[in-house]
Each structure stands twice: as C-alpha cells, then as structure tokens.
C-alpha cells in the first residue's frame, strides 16, 4: 500500500507546482532546490525530510519581517537541530537588498534565494510574509500569512506537537 501513497503524494506534489493553487494543510509541500544566499550551495527541502521544518518566505521590503526574523532565530534555537529546522526563502529581486537586511537582522538558519518567485508560486503564496510548517513526512500542517509577534507562541506549541510525532518509515 505504501507505494500507492507515495505515488499519489508525488502526483499531488507535481500538480501543486504546476497549478500554483494555495497549498492547503494536509498536502505535501512542493519540492524545491535553491541556492543559499551566501554560499550559493544548492539546498533542497528533501534534505530535511525527517525533521519538522518551517519554510518562511520573506523579503527586505516586508515590514513585519523586521520582527519575524529575530523571533524565528530565537525559535529555532529553542529546539534541537535534529528535530526542527527553519528554511528561509528570500524573494528579493536583488540579493544585495536581502544581504543588507540580514546585516541588520542576522539569523543563524539557512536562507535560500528565489528572486524569480517560482517557488512562492508553487506554494500558492497569497501574502507577504508567509510561513509553512511542514512535518517530518514532508506534509504541510500549517500555513500562515502575515506576521505578528504574538504568532510565535502558537507556532511553538505546534512545533512541539509535530516533533512528538515520529516520521513514518518510507
């Protein structure tokens, strides 16, 4: 039975990338492989399978991002790295703007760049910033548009819950 589930998941993932409908909770997160902002090393979501991942789409021009980045950095440090990771995807047209922003608001987690915005489209982004909480099996469990400092507590609880759920053998 497992191979059918995986096939279905793969088809759904492909469909999600193609149609750019908003990725609903319960759907698999679209696959992506993007260069890191600083090293240009290619990093993919699949590299994080088995961990709970927060994918955060942000840009230097997004006001709430001034608050979200430092808080996400703290959030990341509050959980073991083997259980939880944050993968940020920066959507600035110019990498220089993203780097300048990070000098003001540095974070220790990985930031990837996607100036063309095709991954944002794959995830069906409807506003900036947007974050997607993905479980150990690569399924999107929560999606959030916008950011307020108060959001972090709910996020912490959800991450704790998801960490408590072991990955399904695949």
């Amino acid at each position: 039975m497992r191979w059918r589930a995986r096939l279905a998941a793969a088809i759904l993932a492909a469909a999600a990338v193609g149609t750019a409908l908003a990725v609903e909770p319960g759907a698999p997160a679209p696959a992506f492989r993007l260069p890191a902002l600083d090293s240009h090393e290619q990093v993919g979501l699949a590299d994080y399978r088995g961990r709970v991942v927060l994918v955060d789409f942000w840009a230097s021009w997004c006001g709430p991002c001034r608050q979200s980045l430092p808080l996400y950095d703290q959030l990341r440090a509050g959980f073991p790295a083997t259980d939880f990771a944050i993968l940020a995807i920066n959507l600035d047209e110019e990498a220089a703007d993203a780097k300048a922003f990070l000098r003001e608001h540095p974070v220790k987690y990985t930031t990837l760049q996607n100036p063309q915005g095709d991954i944002a489209k794959a995830f069906g982004l409807s506003g900036m910033p947007s974050s997607y909480l993905i479980d150990r099996d690569g399924i999107v469990r929560q999606r959030h548009v916008g950011f307020e400092p108060a959001d972090v507590d709910a996020l912490k609880r959800e991450i704790t819950t998801l960490i408590g759920q072991p990955a399904h053998a695949s």
Partner: protein, 73 residues
C-alpha cells in the same frame, strides 16, 4: 503660454511606458514598496511645498478645506 502639444505627447509616451497592466503577485511588490515610489516620500517637505502653493495660488485641490487655513497673504 500654453504647453506645447508635442511636449505633452512626449511626456505621455514616457509615462505610458510604465503602463502595461499585469497582475502583480504578492511577492512581486518590492519595487512598489520602495521609498521613492511613495505618494510622498518626504511628507514634511510635501506639506510645506503644498502650503506655499495654496497660499500663493487661487484654486482648489489644496484649498484650505480642513487643513486649518491661514491668513497667508
């Protein structure tokens, strides 16, 4: 003196270059968010400028309305 029609046409063409309409995705709003794309990048300066024009010219748009007029002569 009336504005030269050819000058107006040139201005219109330059402006319309930016006018092709295309839907803008939420992550494509970076340029629109730039400081130099605001209606008034420097509100203090704009206020002083508009106040000066209002005091020295006769007609509406900037007229007193509820800005607290002045006895500007």
């Amino acid at each position: 003196m009336r504005p030269d029609p050819r000058t107006l046409l040139l201005i219109a063409v330059v402006l319309l270059a930016g006018c092709a309409t295309q839907p803008v995705q939420p992550w494509e709003r970076g340029r629109l968010a730039r400081w130099d794309m605001r209606w008034d990048p420097d509100p203090l300066q704009a206020a002083m400028t508009q106040h000066t024009y209002f005091s020295k010219e006769g007609t509406a748009g900037e007229i007193g309305a509820a800005g607290g007029g002045c006895g500007c002569n």
